[in-house]
Amino acid sequence: MQIDKGKITAVQFMFSVACYMQASSLLTAFFVGITKQDSWIVVILAFLVCLPFLFIFISIMRNFPDKNLIQINTLVFGPVVGNIISAMYIWYFLTLTSLNLRDLSDFVHQTIMPKTPSIVIMFLFLLVCAWAVRFGIGVVTRYNTLFSIIQIVILALAVVFTANLIDFQNFLPMFDQPAMEYVHGTHVVSTIPFGEVVVFLMITPNIKLPPKKISKFFLWGFVIGGIVLVVVILRDTAVLGNVLGLFSLPSFETQRMASLMEALSRLEIMFASVLIILLFAKVTFLYYVTVLSLAQIFKFETFKPFILSIGALAIVYAFILYSSSMQHVESGTNATPILWTLFEFVLPMLTLLIAKMRKLPQTEEVV
């Protein structure tokens, strides 16, 4: 049973993937502390590492074009194991919602509204997200194309405005760190944010596109998001050099320094607004996916009754997840990549493998 019958176009889907990844340009602190001036290398490596997994996601979408991840789990693993795995995924979606909500709140608190309590920021923000989620996938993804393009334009402007601060010596020494640091950095980037695109398996039935054409749009969305992340890291490294790892928000620090002569300076509020818009798109999507998964697992006709209760739970969960930003960064660097590997790479791979072994889509069609 399809709960949300809304449909999105291929372009909306592509830019939703891109927008989702672009929103993570705030989270570079998780890996720049590990690989410093070589961080751009690990972003490219992670992009390449994630490509085969992206094709696994695409294969799952192609094999089950009319089913979302929760329905696929039940079909592939059976009702008992399938529901356990789905419950784990719901926890993963809720945790991602709360983590991104917390990121947004910390960002706004640190940069724009230091005197406003975090709870007020989170509450007002989630209220807008809840309003969007209420209207379904069409509204959740409607403006992602615009958001994504705005961020690309602002990023291009930021590169121009920081051009006078760029020093290519900052990239040196290159490949000067232990190999394990590159493996660690690649693992972090491949799970946060590249692997997180697994959440798009929840909206497969809502994409107005023949299953065979999904790969093109998913891949292009992934490429746009990946390129933006590489450009962000290249710019930050070129401006900040190997002190990149000392900042909790390196990207924002770079943008704070942007100016065009004397006339145009203090432009960070513009960059901050774009980041908030992107995080709005990301949190709204994750919030939607969480309530949709819950409605799917409990076999509801609509996801609407869950919206406010899950929103309230997401806010309090955001507070109890980590006691400080430093604890968040420490966990994001060490434990989270290992945990997320299960949801983003191991389980999708198992799903595809078992589906192939059981010849599931074909078997179902015969039945």
Binding site: H184, F298, F306, A312, I320, L339
Partner: protein
């Protein structure tokens, strides 16, 4: 604390009344479970009780039991 109780009362009114009117008791039970979890966690949090974070606990489990960490 009063703000938390007020917020959850508003949520209860918006979410539960339509479900009760439509006699959707299964939905009411499921949504109620998440609602109560939210209420309990919020009251504990604003009362200053330290609630263990699942992410930190899982991180410790990976590190100390499974020896999986960087």
């Amino acid at each position: 604390m009063p703000y938390v109780i007020f917020a959850f009362l508003v949520i209860a009114l918006i979410d539960f009344l339509p479900l009760i009117k439509q006699k959707k008791y299964k939905e009411l039970f499921c949504v109620g479970a998440f609602f109560i979890t939210g209420v309990v966690l919020s009251i504990l949090y604003v009362s200053g009780v330290v609630i263990p974070s699942p992410m930190v606990l899982l991180g410790d489990f990976l590190k100390k039991v499974l020896h999986l960490s960087y």
